[in-house]
Point group: C2
Chain length 424, copies 2
């Protein structure tokens, strides 16, 4: 296929009319396609149905220490759930805390706690304008939390092996910079796993702010989709070398292991941070849902149990990811108008279209019945400086829907590119 930038004006005009025709054809089909949300599909949810059979009205529902999980108690979680998450995050059990269904809530609450009560210095709310580093493209809900609390977001470019650490090392010299949000493995949306060097440079940071916190959102910690999974260094192992354990708050959940709507979430943190979090939790809740913890701990048993289960997820997800990335290759190879990465795990494919075209692509797709993640949402304040990134979530639709969606998306990406080139 020809590089679009090499095409003459006449060729572009002809291509445009061809694409418009194709676009109108597809539009007339009245499709209703959705690649916007990173949510598991029915087959994935079915994989965990037996979690619901772990116990019933006749069963013993005591946790290993003898606590009746139906009653109050065990603020930090039942031992078997703490042990399971300790294995998953590869930290000691004493450094884990089990929460409710959503790691998003853990992150929200942690930021809220820092705002109201601080973490080693004055409450953030009393320190005037404070800032957070936001590797981008990134997870829109991280940015929403920061915006909600009025924390200024500084966009940091994502490179091929993680955030631009040169920039981060420079920015943390400003004591009003209080932290960063990261998805270190299979990042949302790029699917990038931080290299050992990036993890080390995070651990080695010497921020001017003594209350600097990195929210290490390990959402896709065991979410490989093929046989060449990425490996992420354990941040707490490395942080120990630098004495910077207090700087990291790691979270994860079973939302995309068991049930997105009824899973279990957990946090890993240093002794000091667990102590501070516990002081808040004591006021905030009597105990989280221990029966759901017990269901999960008894079903998955240990890390091997989780890993075996995740292989079944991978079998379902791989054809979907392939449909998207192979479709992209078929449509865009040689055109020079789009690039993307083929991730080894996670929930997204991150498509970069020609600069200045992403919003237009979003409009065209919407008008033809394809819902995409709001263009720009992957950047702080919803502003993609290049207007280029489009987050594709292949997990929910069927493969044939994905193929249709990719075909339509490709027409829109090409049409937007041609329009752009003709207007330049």
């Amino acid at each position: 296929m020809a590089q679009y930038s090499d095409l003459s004006k006449e060729e572009l005009i002809s291509l445009k009319s061809e694409l418009e025709k194709k676009y109108e054809e597809i539009k007339s089909l009245g499709l209703k396609l959705d690649m916007s949300r990173g949510k598991p599909n029915k087959a994935q949810l079915d994989l965990s149905n037996e979690v619901l059979d772990v116990f019933n009205s006749k069963s013993d529902v005591k946790s290993v220490d003898g606590t009746d999980t139906r009653n109050y108690g065990l603020l930090l979680g039942i031992d078997e759930a703490r042990q399971l998450f300790a294995e998953l995050m590869d930290v000691p059990m004493k450094n884990t805390v089990i929460f409710g269904t959503a790691s998003l809530t853990i992150m929200y609450d942690y930021i809220a706690q820092c705002m109201m009560f601080g973490c080693g210095d004055e409450p953030w709310v009393k320190q005037g304008k404070i800032k957070f580093l936001c590797p981008a493209p990134g997870y829109d809900r991280h940015f929403s939390i920061l915006e909600h609390f009025g924390i200024e977001m500084i966009t940091v470019k994502m490179l091929d092996d993680g955030p631009d650490m040169d920039t981060i090392e420079e920015l943390v010299k400003d004591s009003s910079v209080k932290g960063a949000f990261c998805v270190p493995k299979y990042s949302n949306p790029d699917g990038i796993t931080f290299s050992d060097e990036v993890v080390r440079r995070f651990a080695a940071l010497k921020p001017a702010a003594k209350d600097f916190r990195v929210i290490w959102d390990n959402a896709y910690i065991v979410h490989d989709i093929n046989d060449t999974p990425d490996e992420l260094l354990n941040i707490f192992d490395v942080a120990k070398e630098y004495g910077s354990e207090d700087m990291f708050i790691e979270v994860c959940s079973t939302s995309k292991i068991s049930f997105a709507g009824a899973g279990v979430s957990a946090l890993a943190a240093s002794d000091k941070n667990v102590k501070d979090i516990l002081a808040r939790l004591t006021i905030q809740v009597i105990s989280h849902d221990k029966m759901n913890q017990l269901r999960h701990a008894r079903y998955f048993k240990n890390l091997d149990g989780i890993k075996a289960h995740m292989k079944k997820h991978a079998e379902i997800l791989k054809p979907k990811f392939d449909a998207v990335t192979e479709g992209f290759s078929r449509e865009f190879d040689g055109t020079g108008i789009a690039h993307w990465k083929k991730p080894n795990g996670g929930y997204f494919v991150s498509l970069y279209v020609m600069n200045g075209c992403a919003k237009r692509v979003g409009e065209l797709c919407k008008d033809a019945g394809l819902t995409l993640t709001t263009v720009g949402a992957t950047y702080p304040y919803g502003i993609d400086p290049d207007d280029s990134n489009i987050r594709i979530a292949p997990s929910f639709p069927d493969v044939d829907e994905l193929e249709k969606a990719v075909e339509l998306l490709a027409v829109c990406v090409k049409l937007a590119a041609v329009e752009k080139l003709l207007n330049n």
Copy 2:
């Protein structure tokens, strides 16, 4: 039995030595009794075991609107759970929001939201010293939330039909007074239900602060223990007459209906407040545990289902409450050293011992193996101005344990009274 205040010094000395002997005898038994925690007993938890059979791996787990409860979505809760709580709190479904396991968390989060973002005026955190009204004795965890956020607590006396409204009407003229915490039905610990007049005077309040909020913690909304239950006016019905609906945030949960450690909690509020809460929730969580909502909604079906279930709880609880109140009558009638109310529901019996004696009673009990709720905890800052109130939680121990506990407690109350009278 003789009024202790009528006894001569000699009679008191003789009584003291008799009581000390009895105390040492009981102490030597090495008892381990606990009347400290308002937690359900095993038989109560067993009542709800069939909640666990509502569905299993083979079941349809779609909510009435077709949503797969295993997946993300429905931030406000599934319709059937909202409908159930709407019936329970007697409010329209649109005014309900379903949360996680604990209403305590709803209250904490609501206060946190007011602190950070305000509710109709500047954020509370930016308004300098703010204050809350605390009818007392009351629920220690309400006071802990206020203390945690640095909100000054003003103790308001509980009268026989609810808080002293004359005092409250006076105090709300101060614009730094931002709200009140209440347990309007079967109050913790007195078991008092607010009279119609008290509810009306709450609804009619005209606080100087335009961001005044009453947290209406309806924890014992259907928790009758006998056939002469109290009736509480519906606060939102009355508030409508005064246009003060925005002033009230009502919460309740199934913690003491189904499982204390794995129930469902809910909030009722005005349209405006639901909108404000939703704006925060959108940032804080993707959705609460919809499968647990579905379990509860399908099991209890409707308010009649809940009421029938609560009759079974009452059958278990009534003999326990009787053991305590009948024991108190047997031990204290005619002595003039203690008084209490026989509640028609809730989780506590509130014992008032001779002024200046409660702490001493707590010590004596502890040394002899009986754990009570920390004396003073029922008041703001843990300070009972009269040092008189002792909260008794009869739900967890067996009847024979309760009888032993009451016997020991009575010896301690009498001994403390005699010591006090001899020292005067």
